[in-house]
Structure formats: C-alpha cells, structure tokens
C-alpha cells in the first residue's frame, strides 16, 4: 500500500488479453462497471434478505417453503429461528451499507466518471484502483462465506456492538467465527476504499485538464471528491477498530470486553475493557458513512437535474460549500447515536447542537435544488424523475432528524422503528434513487445504448410510491414505541401493531418486485437497447464530449480543454440551448439576470 510506484495513469497501453480487459483490468471504466455489478448483486441479495425478514415479522412462525434449504439450523422446517432473523438482519444491513450504498454511487460511478469529468485518461494509480476493487470483492466473498458456517453469520447487527462482538460463540450462534469473518471483511473493505479514496483525491487534484479549475468541476465530481476525503478519514478509523475487535476475539486481549462478564454461568476470561470505546470508534466512522452514502447521490442528482432543468443552479458554489459543511460536521455529531448509551449526559448535549446545525446545510441544499426548478424548462424522463424523487425522499427522511437530534426525544425514539424509517429514507431510499438517476442518465454513455423509458418510468412509479408505503409507517410504529431488531413481536403491547407490519411487508414485496423491472431493463437494454448518441441528453460536462462508449483512453489520445463552468444551460449557441465545457464558443446567456 505504501509502494510509491507511479504507474502514470495516462500512459498505460490498452490491454489485449481477456483477463486484462475484463477481469484484472486497470481501466477505471471497467473497474467502475465491476463495482456497479458488485453493488447490483449485493443489492439484490440484500433485498432478498429483507423480504425474508419482512415475511417473518408479519407472519410470525409461518413456514417459508424452501427456507430450510438455505439454512437447516436457521430455519428448521422453513420456520425462521430468532437467531436466523438477526443473522439475516445483520447481513442485510452490512451488505446494503457497505457493499451497495458505498460502492454504487461512490466507487462505481465515481470510478467511471470522475477521470472523464476531469479530462484524464485514467486514475493516477491504476494498479491501486484495480486492487481497490478486488480487495472489496474479496471482502464481499469473506462476508458471504459466513452464511456457510455451521452456526451461520454473526447476529450482532451492522453496528456490531461490544462486547457481543468480542466474547465469542458463547454469546450466541454466529458470534464465533461469524464475527471474525465480519470484522475481517470490513477491515478489507476499508483497505479497498482507502485505496479508492487515494485515487479519487489525486485524480481530482492533479489530473484536471487545462482550464478546469476546481470551481469548474461538475457537482458530481465535487461530491465524489468530498466523499473520498470523508472516506479517507472514516475508513482509516474503522479499520483499526476492526483490528482491535479481532484481537479481542482471537488473541484474548481486552479492548472492548469488561471484567467479570458472566455468560451461561461462566465468567469470561477478559478484564477491564471499555464497551463505549467500540461505540465511539464505530460511530466516528458510522456517521460520516451516512454522508459517504448520500453525498455522491447529491452530486449525481444535481448533475442529472441540471441537464434536465436546462438552466443553472441558483448557486453552484453554495451547493459545494454545503456538501463540504455536511462532510465536516459529520465528524462532530457522531455522538447522537449514543445519547442513551451511558455516555456522559453532558456529552449528549454537546453532540446534540452540531447535529441540529447540520439541518442548516441540508436545508440549503434542498432549497437550492427546489428553487432552481423555478422558471426552468424541466424535462421529465426516468433520470429526472428519480432525481426529483431523491429530493422528496431526502426531505422526508431529513425532517425526522429534527427529532433524533434531540437527546430528550431520543429517550423515547431511540432504537425504535422511527430510527429505521429515518435512515432508510434518508440514506437508503434517497441514495438508491441517486443511483437510479445516475444509471438512467449515464447508462447510454457506459454501454452505448439507451435504457427503455417506459420500463424506467414504471420502475420509478412503483419505487416511489412503494418506498413511501414501506418507510412512512415505520415512523408511526416508532412513535408508538415499536422496538427495532426484534425477531418477532410477542408482547401484548406490540400485538395491535402487527397489521401495520403486514401492510409494510406487502408493500416491501411489491416494491422489491418492481426492482426486477429495473434489472430486466438493465440487462435487456444492455444488449437490445436503442443505440445512443454521444450526447443524448444535450448535456455539457466532459463525459459527453467524447465518444459513446468512451475509448480506452477516454478522449482518443487527446486532452480536452475546458473553457467554461460546467453547466452552461439555458444559453444560445450553435448546438442549441447549451454550451459544452470543452467548447470554445462564447456563451450568450438566456437568463434574465444573473
């Protein structure tokens, strides 16, 4: 990792062998697609797990035919055991947060388009880039392999709180080797993303073509740059935390395990560790991780919206500063995950105020998007629908943050479905909508074919309405005090809420099925789609100045020169109402007033 070799990205020759072309490729575009494929597989696995969980929650102790084939002990006779529910839940969270929400908007699209948007031939360290993907892929395999352990994967949740994560199999099924595999997988994932961040940062800072100042970068490139800076800090902290946890597990150290813990009437051979230490280290990563998932989405959505509004944002600079502010603040607020954790109650107050401050940049971003729509010539297509849907979801998920930022209200809402609804909307659904917007927008460039618009719109409508049907009721359940991470709702208090759970389950099954439309569209269009022009959306940034799909070195042995800010829409030019960044044509504004 510290080998300082410079494989000057711009100079490597096109590969000839199949393996070099498609498997161990150094080409950022292939690596981007590999990340996308990984995210796609992971997303469908994660979604499948959520289906199983939802069915179990709505119809408790009902046999799911065939489930016993997945795990004989986890689902004897097809009936899910409580531990299997938790194991599926843990894997769902881990797969979605790490291998979908981090890889798809950041690593996949960022890899493909960041170098093109800055006009480079490739990343500066293609070998590191290739390693980044393959290390991440290995991390995914390591995680998935825990499904095949005798007692299944870990059940500790994606947050893996100590000391449950460190005492071993005595604490429950999957807590032995399952946890070690989880920790190893996440540590590997951190390495992969650190390597990625290294490339993203150097690409942005050093490989910009002439005329492309930082402020002339498209918003998507800014978002990836900010995200890579966050990733560099966050993953560099999570990795040591995972190492400590592995040591507690296999080497008998006591970083996180306190003295005199009695499990199954046996005193555990650890002493003096600090439970809260894990939470501090984890959430120092965990909160920025939320922004790592959502900020690329913000960039993609801005990028897509601009091309479809046919006018500029009210202020591009403000958007960039707001994203930067979100990134900075994300490190000062992580304690709001720990209000009732036994942390010093004064610290809770100290973490509460920066959390509330975060609403300001978030609000600014939303206001700028929304009010930029004013007076625009909005084009409605699958990409812009998902981008607009993103705004709606981001608002809905964001307002519930008002509640959770306050420690006093958190007493009631902590660890309830309110939290589940909040983060699923704001970092799950919203980020997914960003991914979809990016996919419908960039698919022509990546494959040379258009996606089917009718199917795209059907996918949008079902996803948009479905997501609200799933996640809005989560908030109501939470307000009524429905605790999360329960394998079934056995107490009298929660019985009346089960119909709501059934409604959610039906909605989740339908919405999940709607994603199959997307999958079909993706695969069908890849081979049978209409051929795409070089610039089908009449967009301005550099990726649209090159061929579709881009040649191996992105610009065919040339370097573009940038003459303009990235989004010259709503102007009069020889090609229409836009001027491309790489066009030297002078710009006549169509705007009333700047």
């Amino acid at each position: 990792m510290h080998d300082m070799s410079v494989h000057a990205g711009q100079h490597h020759a096109p590969p000839t062998s199949f393996i070099r072309k498609h498997v161990f490729s150094l080409d950022h575009k292939v690596i981007g697609k590999q990340y996308y494929a990984l995210a796609l597989v992971a997303a469908f696995i994660g979604m499948f797990l959520s289906w199983l969980m939802r069915i179990h929650l709505a119809w408790n102790n009902a046999a799911i035919p065939g489930l016993q084939l997945l795990s004989k002990t986890g689902a004897p006779g097809g009936v899910m055991t409580p531990e299997y529910y938790l194991q599926l839940m843990t894997m769902h969270g881990t797969i979605m947060v790490f291998f979908v929400l981090t890889t798809a908007p950041f690593a996949a699209f960022g890899n493909y388009f960041l170098p093109i948007q800055v006009g480079a031939e490739d990343m500066p360290f293609p070998r590191f880039n290739m390693m980044s993907f393959w290390v991440t892929f290995t991390a995914f395999l390591v995680l998935m392999s825990s499904f095949f352990l005798g007692d299944g994967p870990t059940l500790g949740g994606w947050t893996q709180y100590a000391p449950l994560n460190a005492v071993g199999s005595v604490a429950g099924p999957g807590q032995g080797l399952g946890v070690v595999l989880w920790m190893a997988s996440i540590a590997l994932f951190c390495v992969g993303q650190l390597l990625g961040s290294l490339n993203f940062i150097t690409t942005t800072l050093d490989l910009r073509v002439k005329g492309l100042s930082l402020m002339r970068l498209p918003l998507s490139a800014w978002a990836w740059f900010i995200t890579s800076c966050m990733g560099l800090t966050a993953f560099a902290v999570l990795m040591p935390a995972c190492i400590l946890a592995i040591l507690d597990h296999v080497a008998g150290t006591s970083f996180f395990v306190a003295s005199n813990l009695v499990i199954n009437d046996q005193i555990q051979p650890h002493s003096g560790g600090s439970t809260l230490l894990w939470q501090h280290l984890f959430w120092f990563f965990g909160h920025p991780e939320v922004y790592i998932a959502i900020v690329p989405g913000m960039g993609i959505v801005s990028h897509v919206l601009l091309a479809n509004m046919r006018k500029q944002m009210l202020s591009q600079r403000t958007l960039i500063y707001s994203m930067g502010a979100l990134a900075l603040l994300s490190y000062m607020v992580y304690g709001h995950h720990m209000f009732v954790s036994g942390m010093n109650p004064y610290s809770s107050l100290a973490f509460s105020f920066p959390t509330l401050v975060i609403t300001i940049p978030s609000t600014i971003v939303v206001l700028i998007w929304t009010f930029s729509l004013y007076g625009s010539r909005l084009r409605i297509n699958s990409a812009s629908l998902f981008a607009l849907g993103f705004i709606s979801m981001f608002v809905s998920g964001g307002v519930s943050g008002f509640f959770l930022a306050q420690p006093s209200i958190d007493i009631m809402l902590h660890a309830t479905y309110f939290v589940v609804g909040h983060f699923h909307l704001v970092m799950g659904v919203a980020a997914m909508f960003g991914i979809f917007a990016g996919t419908y927008f960039w698919f022509p460039k990546m494959t040379g074919r258009m996606m089917n618009e009718t199917l795209g719109k059907a996918h949008f409508w079902l996803s948009f309405v479905g997501a609200y049907c799933i996640f809005m009721p989560f908030h109501y359940l939470g307000m009524a005090g429905n605790v999360r991470r329960y394998a079934s709702f056995v107490d009298d208090y929660l019985q009346p809420l089960i119909p709501v759970h059934r409604f959610i389950t039906v909605a989740a099954l339908c919405t999940g099925a709607a994603q199959l439309i997307f999958l079909y569209n993706l695969i069908h269009s890849r081979f049978r789609g209409e051929a795409a022009a070089d610039n089908p959306w009449e967009a301005t940034s550099l990726e649209w100045s090159t061929a579709t799909p881009p040649p191996f070195d992105n610009f065919g042995g040339k370097h573009p020169v940038v003459y303009h800010d990235p989004y010259q829409y709503g102007v009069q030019s020889s090609v229409g109402d836009y001027v491309m960044q790489a066009s030297p044509e002078q710009v006549k504004s169509d705007n009333e007033e700047k």
Binding site: P240, A241, S545, H564, P584
Partner: protein
Amino acid sequence: MATTVHEPPQIDSRRLAGERHSGNGAGGGIVPDGDLRVAVEYSPPPSSTAIWVVLFAITMMFAAFTSALVVRKGSSLDWQTFTLPSVLYFNTLVLVISSVTLELARRRIASFMVVLRSQGESPARWLYVTLFLGVLFVAGQYVAWSQLRAEGLYLATNPSSSFFYLLTVTHALHVLCGLGGLIYVIRKLSKSVLRRNQLDAAARYWHFMGILWLYLLLLLRMKL
C-alpha cells in the same frame, strides 16, 4: 438580457490546473480552435499528492489507536505499567540517524540529477546506509518484543502490553513498507529512471515514520 456571463478561455497560467506544481505540465498555449487538442507533454505529479493522502490516512489510524489507549486506560482498574525495554532508545537513535542519511542521499541524488555522473561514486550509497539502518530498527524492535516476552508480557497479558505490541507492531509494519519504498527507489536509480517526486515521496514517508515513532515513544512512556 445580459450577455457573456462567462469569460473566454483563460490563458493565464494561474487559472490552470497543475498550477501548484510549476514545472510539471501546463506548458504551451491553448489552441483556441475548440477541437480536442493533441496531448502535449503532460506529467502531473500525483505521487506528491498521494504521499500526503497516505500520511493522512496513517495519522488517522494512529489517532484512532491513541484515543483507544487513552479511553481504555482512563476507564479501567486493571492497567499495569511496565518499563519500556531500553533497546527502544537505541532504536530511536537508529531511526533518527536513518532520516539524516536519507537526507544526505537525497542531496547527492539531486546533484547527481543535475550534473550527470559528476563523480564516480554511486549516489545510492547513502540510500544503502538508510536501508541498513531501517532494517536495524526493525531488528531492534524485534529484540524489544523478545525481551518483553521473556519477562512474561504477551499481547494479551495486560492492556498496557496489548497496546505496546499493537502500536509497535503496526508501526514496524509501516516501516517495512517504507523499506520497500527505499528498495524501489534504489532499483529505479540503478536504471536511472528515477523521478524526483518518487524520491521525495519515499523520503517524506520515511521521515514521517521517524516522527511517528518519536510520537509513539513519547506516548508509550507517558501512558504505559
């Protein structure tokens, strides 16, 4: 209706990318014909940026370990202090000297690059000395670990020993990576295709290892 909100292309080099690295790329005027321009010589120095990125990541990692140490010590009753093996101070000296020899090497190579083959002596000589000192440091750390093990202090014996091994081993692994960097530089140098920024990157990394070690030694002395 206002016109020309945006300036025509800037030729002023201060607005160009790569401005921070004068001498690397950014040469030649822009051909204002609007077509994509045939690439001229353009060699940005991402390794200079990259090394700072790497050092930042390592700093974050050790910051995480440090905060873990402070929290773990503050919250526990089972912390037993022990005296650091004195060979550590010898190792510190070795690492400091290695930084000096690396600087000597860098100067030699700089002049070697300017005046090709000025003297007959190989500019890599001081690099070999640095390499040797680096290996000596790692060997010295190994001696320290053996001494502690002989005293019955293992990784899991006590939180203080856990942190000692954790910090020193992690640091030593990073030093080994630095040694790899030095070997890479020596190899490149022998083929005389070494780039200045590669040498600088390896040197910065090596010096950082020294500074990091001084910090760790101070931390271990104060906290263990």
